[in-house]
């Protein structure tokens, strides 16, 4: 789960890390009031969950509250990479002596949080790590034991930072590591962490991401401190009718799982796909071979016939869909015969010929022999695990392209 900058700022503040005075505003009037409260020149920043704000005109500087209001009005209506701003953040234009980077990421290989620090802040840490590796300090922390300031100090000292700067930056990184672990974050970064002219350190910008599975036990933070509604999906766009329908079918039946997305898809080949990363692989395989997917989907966990049927009907009901490809990686608990029944039933209920409508059926695994009997009965082309996902996708693409010609 991604957080907006104003939420990340609050999380940082709650952890005891100094931040500059700021205001989250939903209207131009609120932005004006925030600028008046802060005093002096301010920066007005669009609150969107995407990068490239500065380039898109979503970050602007104002010398007066009136100018801040005018800029807020403009930014609030500015769509950035398809994202509508949640609001604007009004920040003071800080007098910065030096910018640093402080971050904590989840190291999936070591299975422990990894602290990162650089004395070259304000730019992408990846770029610094590549071009100036000696300016990036790293250090793992325990998942269980208390995190000491000393561990953070070692990481910072590795970049050559000494003296007062080292002492002032140390608690910031240590607190960031503690908030990362306490709040089940997958990413917590402050960039830039600014040293102001008076020598104090403040977080000027922060970026936080939380493990989705942790939302249940982080209610105190999410709902209590940040007032995030449980149904806030953080989707950058309104779900389509297809997406809503698939979600409703999934919610109505506890057996198995289905998901469907069609934002940005306008093809003619519907996809009923899934299993162990199969959806991404198969979508890529279709696209790489010239196919045009009408949707993305995930099906698994041994769904009922009704659920498989429901997904297939929704996919087939999408405008422009001519055929569907039913493909999965190798399944273990999902039953091939049950999915076969579901997708064939979808065709029949829509008065479509399954043999014509299902371009390919490739689901190897549990109960596949029973599934193949069903597919034989309805004349649907199918294949077993001796045919790769790539080849199956290619067959589906060839079939639909033949249909187009």
């Amino acid at each position: 789960m991604r957080f907006y900058e104003f939420e990340s700022r609050k999380i940082v503040e709650l952890a005891g890390i100094p931040v500059t005075e700021y205001g989250f505003c939903k209207t131009a009037d609120e932005a004006k009031a925030a600028a008046e409260r802060i005093g002096g020149p301010v920066v007005v920043k669009s609150q969107v969950l995407t990068g490239g704000r500065m380039k898109a005109g979503g970050v602007k500087f104002a010398d007066s509250p009136e100018e801040a209001a005018a800029l807020a009005e403009e930014i609030l209506q500015l769509e950035i990479n398809g994202h509508i701003p949640r609001g604007v953040l009004v920040d003071p234009k800080a007098q910065v002596k030096q910018e640093y980077y402080a971050g904590v990421v989840w190291d999936g290989t070591a299975k422990r949080p990894l602290m990162l620090f650089s004395d070259m802040g304000g730019i992408d840490i990846e770029e610094v790590a590549e071009k100036h590796p000696d300016h990036v300090g790293r250090g793992h922390v325990s998942n269980l034991l208390p995190i000491s300031d000393y561990e953070a100090k070692k990481v910072i000292a590795a970049t050559g930072v000494t003296g007062s700067q080292l002492n002032r930056a140390t608690p910031v990184l240590a607190r960031l590591a503690r908030l990362f672990r306490d709040n089940d974050m997958t990413l917590a970064e402050i960039n830039p962490l600014a040293e102001l002219e008076d020598g104090s350190f403040v977080a000027l910008d922060a970026h936080m991401e939380m493990e989705d599975e942790a939302k249940g036990r982080q209610k105190r933070l999410l709902e209590g401190e940040l007032s995030i509604e449980p149904e806030d999906t953080r989707e950058p766009y309104e779900p389509s009718e297809f997406e809503r329908s698939v979600k409703a079918i999934d919610s109505a039946d506890h057996r198995g799982v289905i998901q469907g997305k069609d934002h940005g898809f306008e093809g003619n080949l519907g996809l009923v796909i899934g299993a162990g990363g199969g959806s991404l692989t198969l979508t890529d395989a279709v696209r790489s071979q010239g196919g045009k997917p009408a949707n993305y989907s995930e099906i698994g966990g041994n769904p009922s016939v009704a659920k498989a049927c429901g997904l297939a009907k929704e996919v087939l009901g999408k405008e422009g869909v001519e055929k569907i490809a039913v493909m999965m990686s190798i399944v273990s608990n999902t039953r091939v015969d049950i999915v076969a029944r579901g997708v064939i039933k979808a065709c029949l209920e829509l008065d479509k010929d399954p043999a014509e409508t299902i371009a390919i059926f490739r689901i190897p695994g549990a109960w596949e022999e029973e599934g193949f009997k069903i597919l034989d009965k309805y004349g649907v082309e199918y294949c077993d695990r001796s045919v790769s996902m790539w080849e199956a996708a290619g067959r589906a693409v060839a079939k639909i392209q033949g249909a187009e010609a």
Binding site: S304, V305, A306, K313, K345, L350, I374, K377, Y378
Partner: protein, 82 residues
């Protein structure tokens, strides 16, 4: 979504009258079926048509009834579940 719902496309389930009328067996059938194909109505076992295609071929209903009391026919290959 256009198109009507179809039932009994893949699986056909039938119960002998004498078995269906036996209250104890009827209750057992309702209990054992994992996909709710059987329901007890007025003390008698009935087949819930909209659930028959969900049959997972587990055979628990066949074991719960006396021999030949319940028949599960796979319509796609015209065989009977033993």
């Amino acid at each position: 979504m256009a198109g009507g719902d179809l039932y009994g496309v893949f699986i056909e389930v039938s119960i002998e009258d004498a078995v269906a009328s036996d209250a104890a067996i009827a209750a057992k059938l309702e209990e054992v079926c994992p996909v709710d194909i059987f329901a007890v109505v007025d003390g008698k076992a009935t087949v819930v048509a909209e659930n028959t295609d969900e049959c997972v071929l587990c055979g628990l209903c066949i074991e719960a009834a006396p021999s030949g009391g319940v028949t599960v026919r796979k319509l796609y290959d015209d065989t009977i579940l033993e």
